[in-house]
Amino acid sequence: MVPVENYLALSGILFAIGVYGVLARRNAILVLMSIELMLNAVALNFVAFAVFMDPEQITGAVVAVFVITVAAAEVGLALAIVIRYFRMRATSNIDEAAALKW
């Protein structure tokens, strides 16, 4: 069996890439994709912990399913908001979203 540390390392790397993407990317869609990466790291964490602690326990898997579902809803909502903003301003660059100062 693959030791749990490997899964945690992978999830940590995924999460770090996601955080970097959110902070470094200036396109709203890419920021959203980075947030998705972070959520995938979370789901991986949950499944890995659940299997590692007790293969019979399903809490971790259930949480992972919920995380994926909520993430899908979140992306649907966020994309709608991005599209509406794009229609108004013809840009999805968040640096140009400066009508309100950050």
Partner: protein, 493 residues
Amino acid sequence: MRDYTLFIPEYWAAGAAVLIIAADILWPNMRRQLLAYLTAGAAVVYGGIALFYIQSDPESFMGLIQVDDFTTFFRVLGAGIIAVTAILSANHMQHRAGVLGEYYGLLLVAGIGLTFMAGARELLTAYIALEVLSFSLYILVGYMRRDVFSAEASLKYVLLGGFASAILLYGISIIYGVSGSTFYDAIAVGLADRGGDADIATIIGLMLVIGGVGFKVSAAPFHMWAPDAYQGAPLPITAFLSTASKAAGFALILRLFTASFVDDAEFWRWAIAGVAVLTMAVGNLVALQQTDLKRLVAYSSIGQVGYMLVVIAALGYGGREVGEQASSALLLHMVGYVISTLALFTALTAYYDRTGKDSSIRGIRGMAETQPYLALIITAALFSFAGLPFFAGFATKLFMFQASAEPELLWVIGVAIVASFVSLYYYLMVIRQMYLFEPEGGVQRFRLPPLVWVIATVLLLGILFIGIYPAPVFEIADSAVQPLFEVGADISP
């Protein structure tokens, strides 16, 4: 126990939300204000049904959501917030958006999210309740279709909100890995089994959770979204944001930290104290330079969050006695803060609806002449924020800081008192605009709509009542926090 009768108020609210959305579709020619009054009525009934659960024994749905006096407290508070917000929206949103059914429906749905955040005793449930509230708010903030500020505000809010949710979830996953459960009580047991060592994973998990919930209550340094979202949102939603999302956030923090993390306080209390100081400093200092009234209120509400976080730090530094006192003082302060904020926004919405001005501070020049009663209400609300005697903020802050006065926290409380003095300066700047300048742009003296007058008066009396005689509300708050401290009241499913 699967007791489905625990959630009758939520069935009502969800049903009413669906019916309101359907009503708007079926009868598009209905008078648009009617939807607002229906929503307000539904919210009042929601709070009314919730009252039947007072003093009943704490009971939980399979250990996921607990219905006790604490939940009831936030049900009633949330219902009040929704009712006032809906009535404010009646005139304000009339011409600002095409379809309004979803707007009012989502207000009720957000209320359900608020309640379940207060009632949750399991992390996944708490997270989903939090997202129910947040998703509703993302949409509501951007509800003004043709307004570029509104679109931009909701864009920033949804991106930063998603980022914060991911951070919170990563923290939750680590807590789950360390403690082996997502139930609050079992987390406490799991963390205790660990032997109390300062292992790095627990600390990282706690910090990520604090960051995630800190974002929701807009504590510095996670506050960047608040001023933009507040400024871009429709005025009634600004009121809703600054009351409901903060009440919900603190409800979740109180229940989670008292149930799960209080035994490991030494790992997180310093972080909360630091965040509290930073939040008070940032909120009150940046508020000094604002020229937009909504942004000013946003920063002042960030400052208020700093005061409330002192209580959470006190939970960590003090024992159970201190925790109980401080938490009930926090709930009392929350009520005072909610009433003052709603009073402020009732007056502002009524004024801007009439004059059509934007939300710059200059816009309220000469209000004392054109509408002296509204000017009085705004003054009372701002004095309450600043904590002047005889207004709600004074009594509630006094209780809060007195209850939190642990030796290690005295310097934090000192900072809070200095911050209160600083805040008085910018509140007085606003009041000066109302009383010392002539009205601009030919605004004439005008009369208030009767319903707005009634709400404003009730809220004004509420500010004075809590300021002068807080004992009854304090007793309610005190009985509301008792279930939080009952050890093993209802452990896991």
